[in-house]
Amino acid sequence: MRFGSWEYLVEVQRRTNSDEKYRELAKEEHDTYTLVLEPEPAKGVQEKIVVGFRVDGGQISEIWEGERPTDFTLSGPYGVWVDILVGRLGANAAFVMRKLKIRGNFLKLLKGADSTQRWLEILRTIPTEFEGVYARDNLPGREA
């Protein structure tokens, strides 16, 4: 599945919502998110990808493509998202090192480190194809 595509989002929602551990870790979270994957034409990533989702008590209750006002907006170059997803860069490190531009309650985001970590583990199980030079990092995935 192409990283950031609608098909990918649907799979993210399905796998997240069937994960007991994530549900427990994120049971207090009720927030909306916008994720912006900025293009890197020099590296073969031509288009900006903007997706969003709503977390309600450990479940992703809604997903969408495009912009909406949300509690958190996280934006950064496509490659940084790839680094986070494949585990080369920790999510909290990306936040603190400003690899990602964070808009929203920063402390609240950092406090959700455990659920974020579990969520990334879930995402790594999805067979994922990256754009441009990042195709070298494609994830084979496995059934959750």
Binding site: T34, V50, R68, P69, T73, S75, R103, N105, F106, L107
Partner: protein, 340 residues
């Protein structure tokens, strides 16, 4: 005299009161028009004024009579009354910070104001209005002075970019003042479509609907990712106050002009990590002369702000009730007084 008397939350009554008699250093005024301020609406919602006070501090009036020991004023002079009349003696006044005066008189807040056919006022609080500032525009001197005070207190310089949160009269005047001050771009965020249109009319370079658009992304797009140097918070509600420090660029300044009557939970981690400055600004008694000059020269467009003119008799239904609605249709309501 006929006057609008504050009786408590949700209660403003028109009442016949004895005509005021000017004492030493005071004048008697025949009020021609008075604007409804956002703080008046706040008091109407929450009850924060003293019961029994005659409201109104955005006043245009004519001098009827001068009391003893008054010099420089005569019947027929057309004036506005400063919304903050400082004592001139306390340490704040002596250091040029009269908006922080410890013995301040505030017409319509702690002494009787101008939402009435007549009022008395200390002569030292009067400012002469030129003919080029009509009775309606004259009601904007007070809010414009508040805005000028805030802009002057800020680090704003020509070429800076700013985001204004809230398209009420203070927000719209802020847009105009920042443009006058040489802003590279001024953006306005406002949920009401009517007020967004007023924002365009006031000269905003772009207007956003915060309920439908992601402000962060819009600003990134318009500024090439640099962000805005200033956020002027003019809505006075928790949501905008909470978001303001996150909307300004690193090292930027948030100027708070809106008065919020509720506590606000905020993300001070972002304030620290991004070295964001937060600056409060209150009133602007020393900026009255400049505000009058801007209006007299037509540099501030009163027509973009004043949306409704109503008679005193309709003060509550068409003024306060309309402005206290969740998504108010009017922007600035000016009340005309009956001639007596």
């Amino acid at each position: 005299m006929l006057a609008a008397v504050f009786r408590g939350a949700g209660r403003i009554e028109l009442a016949e009161l004895p005509d005021p008699v000017p004492g030493a250093g005071e004048v008697l005024l025949r009020v021609k028009a008075c604007g409804i301020c956002g703080s008046d609406v706040g008091a109407y919602k929450t009850g924060m004024y003293e019961p029994g006070i005659v409201i109104g501090h955005e006043i245009v009036a004519e001098v009827m009579e001068v009391g003893p020991e008054v010099e420089g004023w005569a019947p027929g002079d057309r004036v506005t009354v400063n919304g903050v009349i400082p004592c001139g003696r306390c340490s704040f006044c002596r250091h040029g910070r009269s908006s922080l005066c410890e013995e301040v008189l505030m017409p319509g807040v702690n002494v009787n104001g101008g939402m009435a056919t007549h009022m008395k006022a200390p002569a030292k609080g009067l400012h002469r209005l030129p003919d080029s500032v009509d009775d309606h525009a004259g009601c904007l001197v007070d809010p414009l002075s508040n805005v000028l005070h805030g802009v002057r207190r800020s680090r704003f310089r020509p070429g800076d970019r700013a985001l204004v949160l809230g398209g009420g009269p203070i927000g719209l005047l802020t847009v105009q003042c920042l443009k006058l001050a040489g802003a590279r771009a001024v953006y306005l965020s406002e949920p009401s479509p009517t007020r967004r249109r007023a924002g365009e009319f006031a000269g905003a370079d772009a207007v956003f609907d915060p309920l439908a658009e992601n402000l962060y992304l819009r600003i990134d797009e318009l500024t090439g990712g640099e962000g805005v140097d200033f956020v002027f918070e003019c809505a006075g509600v928790p949501a905008t106050l909470r978001e303001a420090p996150m909307l300004v660029r690193k090292g930027g300044q948030v100027v708070v002009l809106g008065i919020c009557e509720e506590p606000v939970e905020s993300d001070f981690m972002t304030v620290v990590l991004n070295e964001v400055e937060i600056l409060g600004s209150y009133c602007g008694p020393e900026e009255y002369p400049a505000a009058i000059t801007y209006l007299a020269r037509g540099q501030v467009n009163a027509g973009a702000i004043i949306s409704h003119v109503i008679p005193l008799e309709e003060l509550v239904p068409k003024g306060f009730e309309a402005l206290a609605a969740p998504a108010p249709e009017p922007v600035k309501v000016v009340v005309e007084m009956p001639a007596r």
